[in-house]
């Protein structure tokens, strides 16, 4: 399953300017995307397993890289640990 707007957010965050804005004011960026409350919560909680079911795996990795998670930590998170 693909959540279009979640995927769009991750896709757009490849742009350095938007990524910088996201780091400074996450809520302002999120407000531009019609995300469901569950998806917003998963983003807030860094819930990788939940997000993984809704987007492409490469986009998911880009996102966690963008917010500064090291690969090892991302993999642990993804495996539910």
């Amino acid at each position: 399953m693909r959540d279009y707007w979640l995927s769009k957010l991750f896709f757009d965050l490849q742009q350095p300017a938007l990524a910088a804005e996201f780091k400074g004011n996450r809520d302002a960026v999120l407000a531009r995307y019609p995300l469901s409350p569950e998806v917003r919560k998963a983003i807030a909680d860094n819930d990788a397993p939940f997000l993984a079911r809704r987007t492409n795996a490469y986009l998911l990795r880009y996102y966690f890289f963008t917010i500064g998670l090291k690969d090892a930590e991302f993999i642990r998170n993804l495996r539910g640990g």
């Binding site: 993984a52 990795r61 993999i75 993804l78």
Partner: protein, 273 residues
């Protein structure tokens, strides 16, 4: 008539740049040597045009429209958009609109329907091998982006057919050109999945050996195994395009090594002319 200058393949992966310092010295030496060797062979092949067969890692396409195959027909294409590829020396590559358009037309005549773009961004998938191959003079590049990132993807058999079509197009081009092919990606790796980091050396070695045999066995094996070998392994599609273009003659393995520090089973190949 143009001529086929040769086909080559090399793995790529962001960590070959971002985590280069973490690669153990012996593996670093082998990787450098393998990339350089491909670069040397590429230079010797003297291509005027290089068709770079690579996936698009969400640099050009999104869920709105993700083509199975897109050919860059423009005067120029852009360098990598990834901020961590800033040190890559090329920001723009000359294309070859005449050959690229001819390829598209031959494809349409042959029952293939590629998407076309007049300006593509060539991301790390294309640029890391070009960078590490240390080509002083870059040939004109014709990007051929094959979807191995977001389902549905073109079938493996179709990728092989694409390669054959590409060869036919080269040989039917009315003009003196030498056209080479660089396939990038693979071998086994897993990105953004629970299995991220896994390298399947057994799969990689078996795949490499099957490139020397019958096409049917290769495609049958890959069809069966790819779903279990990590999403990055899907990039072997690009190797199939090169293999089809080289008329299935098999390649010389320049090197293969699983590199955990970059989470890729790294393969380097030059097809027999």
């Amino acid at each position: 008539m143009a001529s086929f200058a040769g086909a080559f393949a090399a793995s790529h992966g962001p960590l070959l740049v971002r985590e280069w310092d973490a690669v153990p010295a012996d593996q670093k030496t082998r990787l450098e040597k393998a990339f350089r060797e491909l670069g040397k062979r590429m230079k010797a092949a003297k291509p005027d045009v290089l068709v770079v067969v690579s996936p698009d890692h969400w640099s050009n396409f999104f869920l709105d429209n993700y083509p199975a195959v897109c050919i860059g027909v423009g005067e120029a294409n852009e360098g990598p958009p990834e901020p961590w590829m800033k040190a890559f020396p090329h920001r723009e590559f000359p294309g070859h609109p005449r050959f690229a358009t001819h390829l598209v037309n031959e494809a349409l005549k042959g029952g293939f329907e590629p998407s076309v773009s007049h300006r593509l961004k060539l991301d790390h998938g294309s640029c890391i091998p070009l960078w590490r191959m240390e080509l002083e003079k870059m040939p004109a590049l014709v990007p051929m982006l094959v979807n191995s990132i977001e389902p549905p993807m073109p079938s493996l058999a179709r990728c092989l057919e694409w390669g054959k079509l590409l060869r036919k197009a080269i040989e039917r081009f009315p003009g003196k050109l030498r056209v080479g092919i660089l396939a990038t990606g693979g071998l086994s790796h897993s990105i953004g999945e629970k299995t991220m980091g896994a390298i399947h050396e057994d799969f990689d070695r078996k795949t490499i050996s099957l490139f020397s045999g019958a096409e049917r066995s290769l495609v049958r094996y890959l069809d069966k195994e790819l779903p279990k070998r990590g999403n990055g392994s899907e990039e072997v599609r690009n190797w199939l395009v090169a293999h089809g273009a080289a008329r299935g003659k098999g390649f010389e393995l320049v090197d293969y090594l699983p590199v955990p520090a970059v989470i890729v089973g790294c393969g380097f190949a030059a097809w027999r002319p």
